[in-house]
């Protein structure tokens, strides 16, 4: 994404509106990333809001000429890590079982349930690479840029995660 120079300058100078205009086209992708990582629409919304706040705070460090998308997605991914952990220390009673956190109105594909469970048992970094690559349809180069690793490392991490999913008995049985 090439940033419009005046908007960029205005955002850098502290104009919040300019910043929101800059990130607005990226928000659906950011939300999709958060939903893929957290399984819950409300948690995804919280994560994107928090991430946007952190991105605004850190905007002075964004390098002009760089791509805004991987930069923002990195912040969203980190926020998802915090949100997921916070669930353990949650101060709000969640009566739902973990699998009920997904959208209750969405049709459930029985063959996907085991894979979903296995996916959410993966470590954060492995799940993240799969969500970026397959749920957001990013190339390995884009995944690598978001994760700040080499494309080769991104590919190998994705393959390790896929292998782990295939080896999972639940996935094999489905």
């Amino acid at each position: 994404m090439i940033l419009a120079a005046p908007l960029f300058q205005e955002a850098l100078a502290g104009d919040q509106q300019a910043f929101v205009i800059l990130i607005e086209p990226l928000l659906p992708g950011a939300y999709r990333l958060a939903f893929g990582m957290l399984r819950s629409e409300s948690d995804a919304e919280d994560a994107v809001q928090e991430a946007a706040l952190k991105a605004w705070r850190a905007f002075g460090r964004f390098r002009r000429g760089s791509d805004l998308k991987p930069w923002l997605f990195t912040i969203v991914a980190n926020e998802c890590r915090s949100q997921r952990r916070s669930r353990w220390w949650s101060v709000i009673r969640r009566s739902e079982a973990p699998d009920d956190l997904v959208d209750a109105t969405a049709p459930i594909d029985p063959s996907s349930v085991d894979l979903r469970q296995a996916l959410y048992r993966l470590p954060h970094d492995q799940r993240l690479v799969l969500v970026l690559r397959f749920y957001l349809d990013m190339s390995y180069e884009q995944v690598a840029e978001t994760l700040r690793i080499s494309p080769k490392a991104a590919k190998s991490r994705a393959h390790r995660a896929m292998e782990r999913l295939r080896l999972s008995p639940e996935v094999l049985s489905s």
Binding site: L12, E45, Q49, R61, S86, W89, S90, S112, R116, Y135
Partner: protein, 334 residues
């Protein structure tokens, strides 16, 4: 199974995300109010006691003098240390090893089970024990390691926050045994905020990279503006006298937490995007003065716990001096 098939199955497994169209409006409103938000990292245990000047004045004066002397010598020592230990050539291997250690410990903690801890849930202590063990291991790893000079300040901050998180975790388990759900929630909530801070500091270390003169200056300008312009920090940064007294102790703790958040974020940013060699001396001064501000906040927190008004004022004076130096350092950097 090829990648396309895996992709198809994963998309089906995750389900479709329905983007809420109002999100950008909410974000705009959130940013608008950001300056007025309270930082949630306020340890409740430290905000319960009403402020009372219960310690003898002479003892307080001596203690305050000691605090000032200790902080002055620490600042001078730290400044010299920053100047002497900054490597002419980045100590690449040590840096990478330390980053790998932090990353591994962060991932280990991430991989621990979670869930809501209800006092009726018999599985709660076992899960809490796993999380506590992971935090303790991270802390032990940091205690055993010699951090590269570039990461020394964040290393020390991470250790402090991890120690508090462990203590919060233990408090939560004590509340669980006492069947006190509110106590469990409060302690876990406080621990969670500590870990969020550790996470952010770990991320600053893991993704640390060199800045250019332009990007480093922009970063310093922005962080300094946030620190000096922070709405909640104004009672502490804007007045020469500590205003939070009497029944306002929670406000005092909030104000300290607000300034600490700004100072620690500044410190993290200076690690995440570190100074080019041509600005190393200026960066050293800035970092030493931020450490001095952090130490002054420590002194204020201790004084607050000890209900020592004189020591609180001494810490506040030291904070004011440190922040003035930070502002001057930032202006020098440009």
């Amino acid at each position: 199974m090829n990648e396309a098939q895996v992709g198809e199955r994963l998309r089906r497994a995750i389900g479709e995300a329905r983007y809420p169209a109002y999100l950008s409006t909410r974000i705009a409103a959130r940013l608008d109010h950001a300056a007025h938000e309270r930082h949630p990292r306020v340890a409740l245990g430290r905000t319960q006691n009403p402020w009372l000047a219960g310690v003898g004045r002479t003892v307080s004066l001596v203690a305050a003098l000691l605090v000032v002397l200790i902080m002055a010598s620490l600042v001078l020592g730290l400044h010299a240390w920053f100047m002497n230990t900054r490597p002419a050539v980045p100590d690449g291997l040590a840096i990478k090893q330390y980053q790998a250690l932090v990353r591994a410990d962060q991932q280990m903690l991430d991989s621990q089970p979670g869930g809501y801890c209800a006092i009726t849930d018999t599985g709660c202590p076992a899960v809490a024990a796993l999380n506590t063990a992971a935090m303790q291991r991270w802390l032990d790893d940091l205690d055993r390691s010699q951090p590269p000079a570039r990461f020394a300040v964040l290393d020390s901050l991470m250790r402090r926050h991890l120690a508090i998180a462990i203590s919060d975790q233990n408090a939560a388990m004590a509340a669980y045994r006492a069947r006190d759900q509110l106590g469990v929630n409060t302690a876990f909530g406080a621990g969670s905020k500590e870990l969020d801070t550790v996470d952010s500091q770990a991320q600053d270390i893991i993704t640390s990279s060199p800045g250019t003169i332009v990007t480093y200056r922009a970063e310093v300008r922005m962080d300094a503006a946030y620190l000096l312009g922070c709405y909640l920090c104004q009672p502490l940064l804007g007045d020469s006298q500590v205003s939070c007294q009497g029944s306002l102790t929670p406000a005092c703790a909030d104000e300290i937490a607000a300034v600490r958040l700004q100072v620690e974020t500044f410190q993290g940013d200076l690690v995440n995007l570190f100074a080019p060699d041509s600005l190393a001396a200026e960066d050293g001064r800035l970092q030493a003065d931020l450490v001095a501000a952090d130490l002054a906040l420590d002194a204020m927190e201790s004084a607050l716990s000890a209900r020592d008004q004189v020591a609180l004022q001494a810490g506040h004076n030291a904070l004011g001096q440190a922040i003035n130096r930070v502002a001057s350092d930032a202006a020098d950097i440009g």
